[in-house]
Symmetry: D2
Subunit: 112 residues, 4 copies
């Protein structure tokens, strides 16, 4: 079993044991994911990037990932596939010759 | 190579080709992740969960996952390990006998 | 003195007494605002709208408003003016004859 | 009529003309507010605070404020009152003698 399947198996077991699947509609999963993303973001509030606490980042990032995996599972999406497809799509959107280089260029491209 | 490593390899290649690693500090990655989580959330705005567009969910969820994977990679965190550890931690926080059951119980537990 | 000026005066006094203006750059104010918006959102996680706790909503909404007012003040923006201008802009974007009516229409318009 | 009442009057008129009050439940207003806060945050992505575009900040901040005002109105909350009460509460939480001074102190206090 590959890594992603192994993690999904643990998430499914966790939810089944608690009979929590009934509450996991897509909207609340998206709400939960946004809340966890904000808790991760809070690690950096009023700080320089390098001042954030790594243990806290580790924990909040794990929450984000667990919600994101549950959301993919809810909709039957293949995590590896959708991620690789998006990378490919971004590669076309930001071609190397156009995107390579200065922060300014990067910023402008990222804003498009 | 397992799935997670394969995805990380693609993300690293994408960033190296564009020389974008220099911009990927933890704070902006956390900002980007929050922005993408909100775009995913927007799929559900003013809607019932089942009314959201799956193609849009697929795309925004892929963005969230790509940022989350890049953040883990930035800090050298093992994605599978931190996710499984968090599931274990949650299993202790929400023991089956206490958590199993009604939505009301679930809501209260989730708020703790 | 009108209401908005009275609130801004209190916020300025609070920050000056603590010498906190030096930390209030726009980026961290925007981060703080997103974090507080997520805490407000969390009041509704796994709940129907009417199940959320009003005392908690009241407190988190106040945090959101305080950050938003400080951000406006930071950039010298006139709160009343920018809000009324945006309402006017939205009125043109969603003309009454087009927008009035069903939830379906509303959803599609709001997604544009 | 004071400023806040004048703004609320415009928001109410806008929604009544479009018959949109029926869609404005607290949960979706909180979702909308989070989405707008993220759009404001996006102005600063990959940028130093001073590099963000003021016109964009102005517009996104107005969206945040308009959602926040509508939310207060939805729950019958007095905006000035809840904001001043929260400032007072924060003043007790961060007493001047303890909070005044270095960024380090501020960061630690803000994380509590």
């Amino acid at each position: 079993m590959n890594d992603i399947e192994a993690i999904l198996a643990e998430l499914r077991k966790f939810n089944q044991e608690r009979d929590w699947d009934q509450f996991h509609n897509g909207k609340d999963l998206a709400v939960g994911l946004s809340v966890e993303a904000a808790e991760l973001l809070e690690c950096f509030l009023w700080k320089k990037p390098e001042e954030a606490n790594l243990d806290k980042i580790r924990e909040e990032l794990a929450d984000v990932l667990n919600y994101a995996f549950q959301m993919a599972d809810k909709y039957g999406l293949d995590i590896k596939q959708i991620m690789l497809e998006k990378i490919q799509k971004n590669a076309e959107k930001y071609p190397v010759e156009k995107a390579r280089g200065s922060a300014k260029k990067y910023t402008e491209l990222a804003q498009e």
